[in-house]
């Protein structure tokens, strides 16, 4: 179990009969599907915690469990979180009915009256309705969507992300937007908004033989040192970037949708030996596409790293964006920061990352 990051774990529980009743009712709906034998159970180890997912067989299981498969473990009696997931289309179950009105929807899809120290509940609608609810005290969560066939690429690539984000944060971990790659157990964290080159760098390094945690979403822990933990085994690239990664082209999971979706890869299926469950982080690297000349790595300020890591992470953090911002600041202050200027010699980037890690390993702690 990871030590909680300072001062963030809720300790008191308030009564919320409305949320409790809705949660119990939804679990009953799932129990009927389970009783009919139409669900499967999976266990996963995430950053030292155990997640159990009971999920409707068929489209739901196929869409949402593949990205977590590299973290699968044998059955565990007492998981840290039990999540149930189903859709109505494939199970033939009645759609969940919201127990609130439009006025209750707030920022980030959070539902007023159903979010407190104990419960988290949020819904999103674009392009599919996805509802998630977490009972932090009971260690239970539920996830429902009308039709698993309508789940978008980002949900298949990063399933249950808001729910898992809330749960992991509650457990004292720091989910962040960014990738991590490395060598021999040590690595660098790749930060930056979409389009800055994170995925290209991470996937180029994977193809060159480096260890891989993620191209754009990691879970950080800080005890005894900053580590990046793997959550999803996926990677994504714009179709225009595939030319730099010819070895990945046969692995594209959605080749017929590239006109309107990014290419999605389930990387553990081809690179199992290079998947790292976690890496000890030695530096924060901010990719920056220059497009000409030789690539190089130059020092960056902590403020630059803060902007790169925090801005997109805060967007994912919903209501606890304020504390996330300060936790990210702790992270960027703890590590040296660099800008990776990506020139015309994209093939040299894995060697540059390797050289950086060697130099940092030679420094006294």
């Amino acid at each position: 179990m990871n030590r909680p990051l300072a001062g963030r774990v809720a300790t008191s529980v308030q009564d919320n009969p409305r949320a409790a009743a809705f949660f119990a009712g939804a679990l009953d709906e799932f129990a009927e599907i389970r009783a009919a034998g139409r669900t499967a159970a999976h266990h996963y180890a995430i950053a030292g915690l155990v997640l159990r997912i009971d999920i409707a067989c068929g489209a739901m299981e196929h869409s949402l469990c593949r990205a977590l498969q590299h973290l699968a473990i044998p059955s565990v009696e007492r998981p840290d979180l039990s999540l149930v997931a189903w859709d109505s289309a494939s199970t033939g179950s009645a759609p969940l009915r919201a127990a609130w009105s439009i006025e209750d929807y707030g920022n980030y899809g959070l539902i007023g009256g159903f979010n407190d120290v104990r419960y988290y509940a949020a819904a999103q609608s674009d392009p599919a309705v996805i509802f998630g609810m977490l009972d932090r005290q009971a260690g239970q969560a539920l996830y429902w969507t009308p039709d698993a066939g309508g789940l978008p690429i980002w949900e298949r690539g990063a399933p249950f992300r808001p729910l898992l984000h809330e749960w992991l944060y509650h457990c004292g971990l720091l989910p962040v937007h960014g990738g991590a790659i490395g060598l021999e157990g040590s690595g660098v964290f790749l930060a930056g908004a979409g389009g800055r080159g994170k995925s290209n760098v991470a996937l180029g390094c994977l193809a060159a033989g480096l260890s891989y945690v993620s191209d754009d979403f990691c879970v950080l822990s800080d005890s005894p040192q900053w580590r990046a933990h793997s959550l999803y085994s996926t990677g994504k690239l714009g179709s225009g970037d595939l030319v730099r990664h010819p070895g990945l082209v046969p692995l594209v999971s959605n080749p017929h949708a590239l006109a309107h979706e990014k290419a999605l890869f389930f990387l553990h299926e081809a690179f199992a030996g290079q998947f790292a469950h976690h890496l000890r982080l030695k530096a924060i690297v901010l990719p920056q596409v220059v497009g000409e000349g030789r690539s190089d790595i130059v020092p960056a300020s902590a403020a630059e790293a803060q902007r790169a890591v925090a801005m997109s992470t805060v967007r994912m953090s919903g209501w606890h964006g304020v504390s996330t911002f300060s936790q990210v600041a702790r992270f960027v202050r703890a590590l040296p920061c660099f800008t990776l200027r990506i020139g015309a010699d994209f093939e040299n980037i894995p060697a540059l990352i390797g050289d950086l890690l060697s130099r940092l390993a030679a420094l006294p702690h």
């Binding site: 929807y105 908004a193 403020a303 803060q306 997109s312 911002f325």
Partner: protein
């Protein structure tokens, strides 16, 4: 009674060496402050009053007191216009100590504003729900 300031509720900020990063979580805009601007922000965030902030800047930097006063007041006004700070009544706090270095030349404080993450951070409120109460995407005219 002199006006003092407090950082607005939707603002998060962190100081790194002599640079401060500020984010407005409501608008998605973020800001960078360096040098004199960074020092003014430190005083604002500490809850100092307007006269204390001006006095501290005039004491901490080399330059014309009239210019430093005018530029500092203008900068404070700019922070308020951007809704990064709110004016409030009260004596205000004492100024936190500045670094031990010798006074440096005054440079007019500038608020660097960035809007490239605005799209990312801007909230998208839910405007419609379906018959079961779930949010539905608003169909905008093509």
């Amino acid at each position: 009674m002199p006006a003092s300031f407090r950082v607005s509720g939707s603002i998060v900020h962190e100081k790194f060496d002599d640079e401060t990063v500020i984010v407005n979580l409501d608008s998605g805009c973020y800001y960078n402050l360096q040098g004199c601007a960074d020092r003014v922000w430190t005083l604002v965030a500490a809850g100092c009053s307007e006269p204390v902030i001006v006095e501290e800047i005039c004491r901490g930097y080399e330059g014309s007191p009239a210019l430093m006063t005018a530029a500092t007041l203008g900068f404070l006004n700019h922070l308020a216009i951007e809704q990064l700070v709110e004016r409030c009544e009260g004596e205000g706090a004492a100024a936190p100590a500045a670094g031990a270095s010798a006074a440096s030349p005054f440079v007019v404080p500038v608020l660097q504003k960035f809007t490239d993450m605005e799209e990312l951070l801007r909230l998208d409120p839910i405007h419609e729900v379906d018959k079961l109460g779930w949010p539905s995407k608003v169909q905008r005219p093509a």
